[in-house]
Symmetry: C2
Subunit: 310 residues, 2 copies
């Protein structure tokens, strides 16, 4: 028989870390927090039923996908809560999970302030909170006809790792699937430059489609411009690679739009952050998201994103 | 094949309601919210794997238990997020779930601002946010030796309904199990009167034990003083009833401590809210939570609360 719920919570509490704006963290009925005056609060929640990956990777990724949502709003991370359901109380699992979760939390100064544990199928829910200056959040609804479309990092790596999972479970792409890098610093810097932003979780074309739908515009994307890692180029031919990059999920890169006058500033930002930021197309009139190949011919993805209920 | 994730989210979004302090609700990467200046933010998250009850009751209770946590802090509810995992996309289920969830949300002016849906075993996580004036939150750590111990409403009804569930699934007590009443108004009013507060979710003695542990005090509770509903008195003998009241869970009443000089004000509050508020014991030196029967003899509960991992 393992330790009970209260022991698990004590274990989590002992490692949760703190910040000056936390009046009361884990251990009361709720957390008590002091938001900074004049800033807006950004809140996102995500639920996950992880597959059989290492607990430390599960911890990392559960926080990463929520930090990625904050990044896509241009927010500075501050606080998070964690709800955890486990089939049985397993302190080794919890400790390893927290290793991954808190390593990423420490990188971004986000503190764990509360949550809940219960018994059930392995399931996690993380709520992440952060701040933006009032009026400066990156939203999905600001793209303008003529804007450039950009993406951070490289696309398709996580989807490639998924394809290779059974055959080559230790393939170098695997790390991009298990330990995605939320683009928090890029998102905060882009708050002053981008007209709209989304994080790429369901696949580039699907997520860019969200920007277009909310902004009432279309987009034209050049498939040959999509940034690919060396590892992805080595593992897949051009046709397979294009599909992974345009329609694969789990990238957690930022796709954003910006006026063409910002190209130089975006280039210096990329250099300052040591992060690839690639121009991949432009915003058009209409409502269609069109991808074209090198010859300018319309390119059709084998699927248009990942719908959790399809 | 049911509708996909995006349809579910659209369905939820259309019914989510709004508030003036919501800059951006459901539909972007995260919600964008404007906390009131000078107040503290109160945040609680809970995860649930509901048993086979009606979806409207599941929706009500998932929000109620989080509102109860806010009530125990003396907070004014403001915003919530919902993460939902469902085995398949089922719009009838979602609509019924939202009927219960949003009926309670509407009663307390709390707006649904974001969340997530995914496919998996039925599971819910709700994060609730509210405000308190800086410095006036009801915490667990303020109980003083000599304080009175009070409880709102009646105890043991939900635990009684659980006992009767198979034999009498439609027993009148059932409503207290499926549709608990979070004591939000009482909690807000008690912020000026109580020295410590907790909501009764794991059982009175266990939850009062949390106040005592955090306040470094003990407590003496009189079992005959514990408030019981007529329905509970009708359904159980005195011995069974005492156990349900002292150690049963799922009451979602508030247990609080207050200086004896506040007795009259607490009586007027009870009258104003039309809510029974009963004095059940007092805070003592030491660290033990002791329950005594009418003869003053120590009373031992058959179990000391509900630990989710026991």
């Amino acid at each position: 028989m393992g330790p009970g719920e209260f022991d698990l919570i004590a274990r989590i509490r002992a490692r949760a870390g703190t910040r000056d704006d936390i009046v009361l963290g884990i251990g009361d009925d709720a957390a008590l927090l002091a938001p900074p005056p004049g800033r807006h609060l950004v809140v996102t929640e995500g639920v996950h039923f992880p597959r059989g990956t290492a607990p430390a990777d599960i911890g990392w990724k559960a926080l990463a996908v929520n930090l990625s949502d904050l990044a896509a709003m241009g927010a500075e991370p501050a606080w998070c809560t964690l709800s955890l359901s486990l089939p049985q109380s397993d302190t080794a699992w919890i400790d390893a999970f927290l290793d991954g979760f808190l390593a990423l939390a420490g990188e971004h100064g986000i503190a764990l302030v509360g949550g809940d544990t219960t018994r059930g199928p392995l399931s996690l829910s993380v709520t992440a909170m952060g701040f933006v200056d009032a009026g400066s959040a990156l939203r999905r609804d600001g793209a303008q006809v003529g804007d450039d479309v950009w993406v951070t990092g490289t696309l398709g790596d996580a989807a490639g790792a998924l394809v290779l999972l059974e055959r080559e479970p230790a393939h170098p792409l695997r790390r991009r699937l298990d330990r995605p890098t939320p683009r928090v610093h890029a998102g905060r810097a882009l708050a002053a430059l981008a007209s709209a932003c989304v994080d790429v979780s369901d696949g580039l074309l699907a997520d860019l489609g969200h920007i277009c739908a909310r902004s009432d515009v279309g987009a034209r994307i050049e498939i040959p411009s999509l940034p690919a890692s060396e590892a992805l180029r080595d593992a897949f031919d051009d046709v397979a690679r294009a599909a992974l990059q345009a329609a694969g999920g789990d990238d957690y890169e930022l796709c954003f739009t910006a006026d063409a006058s910002h190209r130089e500033r975006i280039a210096s930002l990329a250099s300052r952050l040591d992060l690839r930021i690639t121009r991949i197309g432009r915003i058009t009139a209409g409502t269609a998201v069109v991808a074209v190949d090198a010859a300018g011919t319309a390119w059709q993805p084998p699927r248009t994103g990942y719908d959790h209920f399809e």
